[in-house]
């Protein structure tokens, strides 16, 4: 089945938005502790801004998200999307959020730059963060 690129871009935009929204909730719920740890607060806020900027890029990409030989990459992205949707709520610690956000940013960068191997690595990192095994 051919990839619906425009829909893929919308799904990615929504996924990154959902992650950013969840980070917003985490920051809000833990703001008392985070206000005493400005380094991590700043890091979370900065990472969330980066994730939002990727979300915005995906929303504006439409079907221009395509790049060569991308079938397998988008399959992996779709796997990552499903796993994130199921497990996002389980991240309840600042250090886990920071490392998860770094993987998500890496995924965003790889998709935008059309770096296939980067997509595979970043998606694997995301799946691994939730202890989900990857189908080859």
């Amino acid at each position: 089945m051919p990839i619906d690129y425009a829909q893929e871009a919308l799904d990615l935009g929504n996924l990154f938005q959902q992650i950013a929204r969840q980070m917003d909730s985490y920051i809000q719920q833990n703001i008392t502790a985070l206000s005493k740890d400005q380094t991590n607060l700043n890091l979370l806020v900065t990472n969330q801004a980066t994730i939002l900027s990727y979300s915005t890029q995906f929303f504006s990409l439409g079907d221009k998200i395509t790049f060569g030989n991308d079938q397998q990459y988008f399959q992996r992205v779709d796997q990552a999307i499903a796993v994130i949707n199921q497990n996002l709520h389980t991240i309840q610690q600042t250090d886990k959020w920071i490392s998860f956000a770094a993987s998500v940013i890496s995924l965003g960068l790889s998709i935008v730059s059309g770096n296939g191997s980067g997509i595979l690595t970043a998606a694997q990192g995301i799946l691994g963060a939730f202890n989900v095994s990857v189908k080859p």
Binding site: A6, Q7, L10, G13, N14, Q17, A20, R21, M23, D24, I27, Q28, I31, T32, L34, S35, Q38, L41, N42, V45, Q48, A49, L52, S53, S55, T56, F59, S60, G62
Partner: protein
Amino acid sequence: MKSSLLCSCLILQALLYTACADLKGINKFAGSSCKTIAQRFPYGYSDYCFDSCYIYDNSTNPEHYPCDCKTAAAYDTAVIRESGKLGSYFTALAKLSGSADVIKVDTLGAVVTAGTYGSLTISSTEASVASGVATGIQDLLTVNFKSKHLTANLQTYGNAVDSSLAAYIRHLEALDGQTTNLIIYLNTRLIAYRAVTAPGPERFSVVAVYNQKMRELTGRQAGFKNLISQIQLIRSGYHQLVINAGDIRSKNLKQELLAFANNISYLSN
């Protein structure tokens, strides 16, 4: 003679009503759809550009002006043109299916009645013939010709219209997503700012401005989501219409389309 003419008129009216009722669902649905599609964007790409350009602006360069929104305005124009084509299609569908044409036929029948029109006199025989011609025209336009025309039109252009509706919804969803990102961005910054800033007039002013902008964006976004819901209803209704293109006078289709039209009107109000 008079009662016979009256009876003929009643039968003609009944025929007209029946023919009209057959396509009433399509007509009302198409009418609601073209009104919805023709309505102005509650929040366009230009609006988004003028909001996002300074909210996301992190530049320290004083010469950098981030709010050049010419491209966004051009994009708005392109999307509006796209929606304009869809609007025209549904307007045509409404005309082909609808009351406007039936009224014309009805008016033609009504005009040609026995009596004196200035220097011209229409005899009852003439009126009766005209009435028959009107029935023929009505039959041609409203029943046979229009049904075939609509069916052929739906079968020929159904996929293209559906694809165009899907693309339009995607445009709107993408813009909605970007607007939501702005709100999330502002909200997180507000939380972080408030947590590390001492209470006082400065904090009050900043928080007030943030809240005002978020409220404004949320309000615009509500209107936008409403428009998306209406277009989605149009797409679903049109999908039903295309599926039933071979039987456009079915009662089930009529009921479904009337329900879609009512829901679209409800949301637009």
